[in-house]
Amino acid sequence: MPDDQRGAPTPPPPRRRIQAPQDFVAGLGLMALAAFALWASADVPAGRLGSPGPGLLPRAIAVLLGLTGAALVAGSFLWKGDPLARLSLRGPLFVVLGVIGFALTVRSPGLVVAGPLVVMVGGAASPETRYRELAVFAVVITAFCVGLFRYVLHLPVPILVLPGLVTI
């Protein structure tokens, strides 16, 4: 080992490197949310402290939220924390699509379509899904739900609604 390297002082830790990426992103996100909330409630009258209007509490909370976010961001430079985890696309995408599909179809044509729809589309979210098995399961579980929610619990969930033709 060459002499000059053993005795050389260790270089100072690189400044301005984010030690806690999760906290950093979290803090930024919160600050963004706080800013959004402040913007969204800009036209709501705030009143005074002694007689708060509808806008006072939301704005006060938004400010506090922003400050907390800022504290998180600041802390992310000072203290070590967890690194950012990877985001996957497939899972959230298909689950969300499935649920949206349910929302769009539940009123009409009704549960007989919405149920299998969310099951099959949601099923695409997992690489382990076996589609033929899932298709049978979709029918079975929809039938079970129809029986349970409509006939046992008497909840007015639309089963089959085709405007002008059929309403169950």
Binding site: P156, L165, T167
Partner: protein, 324 residues
């Protein structure tokens, strides 16, 4: 090819196609109640619809769609298919005060509905905490006029019956008390009993047991005759404030283009329900006020809606009590 066409035709023709006029009703009817279950409008709706179901031969299913002073439910029901299978229970708030209270209201109580008939009204009472320094309505009026700024009046939110009716009362008394808002009549009543607030205007249904037990004081009932449920409480006419006449009426409406034959059938079922001994007894026990025969027609209801919209528009705009 021909066989499949024939099969298709046979299947299509045998599907339960809806023929609205033929034999109404052929399946259960949905009655939308735009308030949470358990409240006065909901109770009236349930009592009345139970009998109506028997006359019509089909079940009337109550669907509670609460929100925004009842306007959410009414908005949704007013946009339903006008085939007689979706009707709604509106009231003084949703079909009277709403246009004045909600500038962005998505329906017009006068134009967007086919009125079926008035069901039952719940008279309004002026009540106060039991330690309120007034023996009767005259003393109450005098006290409120003199001390309005020191008083706290409870109500259940902008657009609620307790809010609109007390707006009228306050304007008659030229009083500007501090108006304290609660999420519903229950919490408001609770604080009145506890003495945290001073007075309130509310529907009789909620108040009868408290008055009978003496936890709150009732000064007057705002209808022409005394209520059978509270025979000791004078009317506003008797007690010196005849201008304060309010009843939170409840009525059944159908969406705009519902065929007149269906409306007539519904009205007939409603009238029979209101004539039935048992139904009458249950409504009267609550303190509700059943419309008399001439007042039960769809035309009478339409007139009532028009006059109420005009009246509340005047009262609320004058008091400056509208949103935004």
């Amino acid at each position: 090819m021909k066989t499949s066409l024939a099969v298709f035709a046979a299947v299509a023709l045998s599907l339960p196609v809806e023929s609205p006029r033929a034999a109404y009703p052929e399946r259960p009817i949905t009655l939308v109640v735009p308030f949470a279950a358990g409240g006065p409008t909901d109770i009236v709706a349930r009592i009345v619809s139970e009998h109506m179901s028997r006359t019509l031969g089909q079940q009337i299913v109550i669907e509670n769609v609460a929100g925004a002073g009842g306007t959410t439910g009414i908005t949704r029901a007013s946009q339903a298919t006008p085939d007689g299978y979706t009707i709604m229970m509106g009231h003084m708030g949703t079909h009277g005060a709403a246009p004045a209270v909600y500038p962005t209201l998505k329906y017009d109580p006068v134009k967007d509905f086919a009125p079926v008939g008035l069901a039952a009204g719940t008279p309004i009472l002026i009540v106060a905490r039991k330690t309120f320094p007034a023996k009767d309505l005259r003393e109450f009026v005098a006290y409120v006029r003199a001390n309005a700024t020191k008083l706290n009046e409870a109500h259940a939110g902008v657009g609620s019956v307790s809010f609109t009716t007390c707006t009228l009362l306050n304007s008659l008394l030229s009083a500007k008390p501090t108006r304290v808002v609660y999420r519903g009549t229950g919490p408001a009543l609770n604080d009145l009993v506890a003495g945290q607030v001073d007075y309130m205007c509310d529907q009789i249904v909620n108040l009868v047991p408290q008055i009978q037990a003496g936890t709150i004081k009732a000064y007057a009932v705002a209808i022409p005759q005394r209520s059978a449920a509270l025979p000791d409480v004078p009317t506003t006419k008797e007690a010196g404030l005849p201008d304060f006449q309010v009843s939170a009426w409840n009525a059944i409406f159908a969406p705009k283009k519902t065929p007149p034959e269906i409306v007539a059938k519904l009205n007939d079922a409603l009238v029979r329900a209101l004539d039935d001994e048992n139904t009458r007894k249950r409504l009267l026990d609550l303190g509700a006020d059943i419309a008399d025969r001439p007042g039960r027609s769809p035309q009478a209801l339409q007139k009532l809606v028009e006059s109420e919209v005009a009246r509340w528009n005047r009262v609320l705009k004058a008091a400056g009590a509208t949103t935004r």
